[in-house]
């Protein structure tokens, strides 16, 4: 049996628990007393806690990446980033240009075009390697980059960075390259250059992770809520604590993405 602790207050502040939202989901026998005011408890015999967990899912703005086309000669890609969890009626959860565009441009993306719930753009791996997004946290002022070689089959870019006009030291640069998945292959102390290899997949993954981390966020505390009709049934119980069958349980839920 799964047991649900449900918010009953008519709370509507953003990111708070709204009426009908699941506060907690427990194993059978955990809820042993009626709830205080402002909450109700629903017990569902025959429902395993593990199967009930989805009702407590948070609603986050989520994005997915898909490759529309690629050109391995220039190692560039045309990508689409789409919102995966949004309400088409209210628009909640849709991609907003201002939220994602700065991060795409930070990685050297070009040709950024917005649709209603997605954004399409071009990204070239070499441009990404040289971008502020990749070198996040380090002052790139005065660094100059050149590509020495590119192996199409393996996706390895051999690059050289000249730091003679930068305040960074060779050690700082080498640490950064190593910490971000690159391999330092040479150094010319006199010319103040460092040569390093960077693999396409490492750069692409770093790009995806960075954009996800900065764009994805919780927008509503729970994705599902108990229907108002169900709440009133439970609140009619003197102790606001009700045991219901699976049939009733299945009719109780509303999906906020579809309301």
């Amino acid at each position: 049996m799964a047991e649900f602790l449900i918010q009953a207050l008519n709370e509507t502040a953003p990111l708070r628990y709204w009426r009908g939202d699941v506060i907690g989901i427990y194993e059978d026998g955990v809820c042993i007393e009626p709830p205080s005011s402002g909450k109700v408890i629903v017990k569902v015999p025959g429902l395993a806690k593990a199967d009930a967990e989805s009702q407590g899912a948070e609603w986050w703005q989520r994005i997915s990446f898909s490759i529309l086309s690629s050109d391995l000669v220039t190692d560039s890609f045309r990508l689409t980033v789409s919102a995966t969890e949004f309400n088409p009626t209210s628009g909640i959860g849709k991609l907003v240009a201002g939220k994602i565009e700065p991060f795409l441009e930070n990685w050297g993306a070009t040709g950024v075009t917005f649709a209603s719930d997605s954004v399409t753009f071009d990204i070239k791996i070499l441009d990404a390697i040289k971008s502020a997004g990749f070198w996040w946290g380090i002052d790139r002022t005065g660094l100059t980059f050149s590509e020495l070689n590119y192996a199409q089959a393996t996706g390895v870019h051999r690059c050289r960075v000249n730091y003679s006009g930068s305040g960074l030291t060779a050690e700082e640069l080498k640490d950064f390259i190593n910490q971000n998945g690159g391999t330092v292959t040479g150094e010319n102390v006199g010319n103040k250059t460092i040569t390093f290899d960077m693999v396409r997949t490492v750069v692409y993954e770093a790009f995806q992770n960075d954009v996800r981390q900065r764009v994805e966020r919780m927008i509503v505390r729970r994705k599902f809520r108990l229907s108002e009709a169900a709440m009133q049934v439970i609140e009619a119980d003197p102790q606001r604590w009700l045991t219901v069958g699976m049939g009733q349980y299945n009719t109780y839920w509303k999906n906020k993405l579809a309301e």
């Binding site: 708070r16 506060i23 946290g137 900065r214 966020r217």
Partner: protein, 333 residues
Amino acid sequence: MTTRYVNTASSPGGDGTTNATSGATRAFASLNEAEAAMPATLTDWWRIVCEGSAADTTAVTFAGTTTSAANYIEVWTDPAATYGRHDGKWNTAKYRITAGITISENHVRISGLQSTVSGVRNVIVYNMAGAGVIHISNCWFSATTICVDVISVGAVVVTMWNTICSNAGGSSTGTIVLNQDAATFNCYNVTAYNRDAGTYFLWRRLAGTMNLINCLGVGRGQAVFTGTMNAVTYCASDDATADDWGGAGNRITQTFTFVDSANGDFHLAATDAGARDYGVTDPGSGLFSDDIDGVARSGSWDIGADEYVAAGGGLSIPVARPYTQAVNRAAVY
């Protein structure tokens, strides 16, 4: 101050106004339940007192409540309570949370928690706009990824002191990480320890301002301080990174001796020669004057979360084992 109680011996559904484990006013059964019951706007300091010998297993996100410098959220354990605050090392008889804590409020203080997590951060300060003040103190953290992470926030100042961060069993880009331009992360008397030798960076600044004083790092083959720190003083590391950014009093390539690092006890041993008395006094300018388990600091402070006190001086010190011995990764924290 408004006080609410979490007691893992309670059952869900109480109003949290007492620490009782039954009745309508019973304590909340989890920190998450306490957070869910908070008002949309705080009008005073809101203290959540946590207790219980059973683990709190529910993740919690502090979000959606308007806080301010005077009206902040404080998650706190009572050192005097039977099942309250840990004693500076992992203790399964005390309150502990085994799921992640997300802070998306601008003014939150966490004091005296012990937390061990897998696959998530112990604490992530994340996803908030504007300025704020976050305090993390006297905590014991263990994670398979990052212990404390600050990212996607505004001009927030995070200050952490008297806290232990260690990790094992996974991989990550760092243990204590700052990755936000506008944010500041101050660490005072923090101990960070790589239980998997050479696996994790310890302090890592990717963006923002990171200031470290009296911090102790044991990377065991991996860099302790990486990513261009802003100020590092009176810190010590087992590698050569503590003095990479100048600053006074830093000590490199040190050997530290803890009471029982293999089992999560990072109190300094009597034989330690790497951290004892090498710190600077009062790094937080009056913010604190004791150590992770409440021992008063005196003289030249020790580096790290613990202030060594000789046996008979109020703290019982078991036989020391240096950290260089084999570490039992299977130890349950």
